[in-house]
């Protein structure tokens, strides 16, 4: 009888494990991620038991941590602003940042073109996840909830902006952002390359960038309107 009970509980354990396996897709291949990290990230960042700040801050405990949160580290004004607006490094935002750092934080000092390959990002994040004790917002049980990146099809990026329309629309922006490019308290938006402008606005629209006013303003702009604004502001010195 004792024997039978034991068998039953073993079966139960196996079933539970199988269910977890089914629902929990790992972020990526951590082992491969280690090699990608060594090649692409390690010249500036350390992670692991003895990690210290280098050119970039160390990445232990990055998941669930507020952006720019080491007081001893010298961050860009831009990422500090994003931090104060509430940027927290969850999986979705780390993924967006790794793909294109400037899409998420325009003036970041992280001088890195981005990991364009989704598999590379997945694997690096799986590797970094090992060094986060208490990861938050990692939807291992619900992979479908995962939003990948600033999701911009080529046709959106290639819309030719109508600068005259942009000039009218810009009057909403210039209530706060000064048209001569001065910035005190509110960043300058003049003279940006069009693509950076478009990507940044879509990052607000998709609520990847954190600021509530900008999420609201961008949230109701169409793809054409964003392109029109980018075309207009690009022409301002």
């Amino acid at each position: 009888m004792r024997h039978a009970v034991l068998i039953l509980s073993v079966c139960a354990a196996i079933t539970t494990a199988a269910r977890a396996e089914e629902g929990a897709r790992p972020i990526g291949d951590a082992e491969r991620g280690e090699t990608v990290f060594a090649r692409k990230c390690a010249s500036c960042h350390q992670v692991g038991p003895d990690a210290r700040h280098r050119i970039g801050p160390h990445l232990n405990g990055i998941f669930g941590r507020k952006a720019a949160s080491f007081p001893e580290f010298n961050y860009s004004r831009s990422i500090e602003r994003a931090r104060d607006d509430g940027l927290v490094w969850d999986l979705r935002r780390l993924d967006a940042y790794l793909e294109n750092p400037k899409a998420l934080v325009s003036g970041t000092r992280m001088n890195f073109a981005g990991l364009k390959n989704q598999r590379d990002r997945d694997d690096v994040l799986a590797y970094l996840r090992i060094f986060s004790d208490n990861p938050q917002n990692i939807p291992e049980a619900a992979p479908t909830a995962r939003k990948m990146e600033v999701d911009l099809p080529e046709e959106v990026l290639s819309i030719e902006g109508d600068a005259a329309f942009g000039e009218y629309l810009s009057s909403e922006c210039t209530t706060c952002h000064q048209v001569d490019g001065d910035n005190d308290g509110i960043p300058s938006i003049t003279g940006w390359p069009e693509e950076d402008f478009v990507v940044a606005m879509h990052a607000y629209k998709q609520k990847l960038r954190p600021h509530p006013v900008m999420q609201m303003m961008a949230g109701r702009l169409s793809d054409e309107e964003i392109a029109a604004l980018a075309a207009y502001f690009k022409g301002l010195e």
Partner: protein, 420 residues
């Protein structure tokens, strides 16, 4: 801006014709007259002049030479700004945008003849008139108070000498004295304004007269950003501020400016400084033009045209438009829509769909800023809210400081959008 040849010529023409009468300068160009040089009027004048590139003759009528913004005037009371830092002049609008700036009062509008008469005796003809006169007070709204009493009990709801007076009266309060505010009923200019003012008065008293008390007598059950203000008051000024709402007689108030008393539901309170903010209505020129319905001027959302007269556009606090709060930001937003519609009507320029937005920042204490905002669209019936947000209670200090810094950026942005 770049000054192109047409604008330069426009300015020169205006200058040549300036004496003795300003209004002959149009030479067949369509004429736009703007009444009121605040967030609505100054913005509208600037956008019509700038975007029409000299094709439209623009005259701005504003009685004062130095305009004090209502927004940030509370920060002056709190000691965070100099009065001179909220003063603006119209020099750039005249010199760079070719706008005829006339410092006079508009005292009448003949809608059939399409003319505006000025207190100084001149008459200005218009093809389109833009009215942005702000607010006036409803007579008899607070028993015992009328405008002749504004020296003893200031409203300080039009910025400038009234704001200075109120600040001086707060400074003259005896130790442990009482500052009272009679708050207005809805709708009124700047919904969070009275409560930001209370915050600034509390800030000042905490530094200079910490045993003083603040009493708010309020006819409204609820008010703008209430949870944020009440949290902030408890945190920074514990015990100093008491608010009497309608359930405790806040609706039943009268004042005696000579005796310096406020009577709340029959109970007489002695006060040392008293800020009376009465119920409000559209600036009087709207009434004189016959375009009001009740206390406000109803408008067509898509163009900000008066519902009574298609040749008149009305902006800002004076309007009844729907969901937008009466604020400088709203007036500035509406002005751009109206400017586009006016240009479209007079010069066949492109007209785009109306978009409106508003954000109001308030300061609760040093570097403790909060904000509320929304976007709006024009429907047939009204300007309707699309989406909005408000600061959360319990936000950390960094975010509140950043919100405050953002408000400084906004002030610089909107004032350069208004005055060039």
């Amino acid at each position: 801006m770049t000054i192109n040849r047409r604008i330069f010529l426009g300015t020169a023409a205006a200058a040549t014709m300036a004496a003795p009468m300003v209004m002959g300068a149009s030479h067949g160009r369509p004429r736009v007259v703007v009444i009121g040089g605040g967030a609505g009027g100054a913005t509208a004048a600037r956008y019509v002049a700038k975007d029409s590139k000299g094709e439209i003759d623009v005259t701005l009528v504003e009685p004062t030479r130095s305009y004090y913004t209502c927004f940030f005037s509370n920060l002056y009371i709190g000691g965070f700004r100099e009065l001179s830092s909220i003063a603006h002049s119209y020099g750039t609008l005249a010199s760079e945008y070719g706008i005829n700036v006339v410092h006079d009062w508009a005292v009448g509008i003949d809608r059939d003849a399409k003319t505006v008469s000025l207190a100084g005796g001149d008459t200005l003809p218009y093809d389109r008139l833009i009215l942005s006169p702000g607010i006036d007070f409803v007579e008899g709204a607070v028993p015992g108070w009328d405008i002749s009493q504004q020296g003893r009990m200031p409203h300080a709801y039009k910025a400038g000498s009234q704001t200075e007076l109120l600040k001086a009266q707060i400074e003259a309060m005896p130790e442990g004295g009482v500052f009272a505010m009679v708050a207005p009923p809805n709708p009124y200019r700047c919904p969070p304004g009275p409560y930001e003012r209370v915050s600034m008065v509390a800030h000042k008293l905490r530094e200079e007269n910490p045993t003083a008390k603040i009493l708010i007598v309020d006819p409204k059950q609820n008010f703008s950003k209430q949870a944020l203000f009440e949290e902030g008051w408890a945190k920074h000024y514990g015990g100093m501020i008491e608010r009497i709402g309608p359930d405790f007689g806040g609706e039943n108030v009268s004042v005696d400016p000579m005796a310096m008393t406020v009577t709340i539901d029959g109970a007489v309170e002695n006060v040392d400084a008293c800020n009376v903010i009465p119920a409000q209505k559209a600036g009087r020129i709207c009434e004189l033009a016959g375009i009001t319905e009740g206390n406000w001027a109803p408008v067509v959302p898509q163009t900000m045209q008066s519902r009574m007269d298609e040749n008149i556009h009305v902006l800002g606090d004076a309007t009844n438009q729907g969901d937008m709060p009466k604020s400088g930001f709203s007036a500035n937003s509406q002005a751009k829509v109206a400017a586009m519609a006016v240009r479209g009507a007079l010069t066949d320029s492109r007209v785009f769909p109306a978009k409106f937005s508003n954000t109001c920042w308030s300061l609760i204490d040093t570097e403790d800023g909060v904000k509320v905002g929304a976007t709006y669209e024009a429907t047939d019936e009204k300007i309707a809210k699309v989406d909005g947000f408000i600061s959360d209670t319990g936000e950390d200090e960094d975010l509140r400081r950043q919100t405050f810094e953002e408000s400084l950026g906004w002030y610089a942005g909107i004032t350069s959008d208004m005055f060039g």
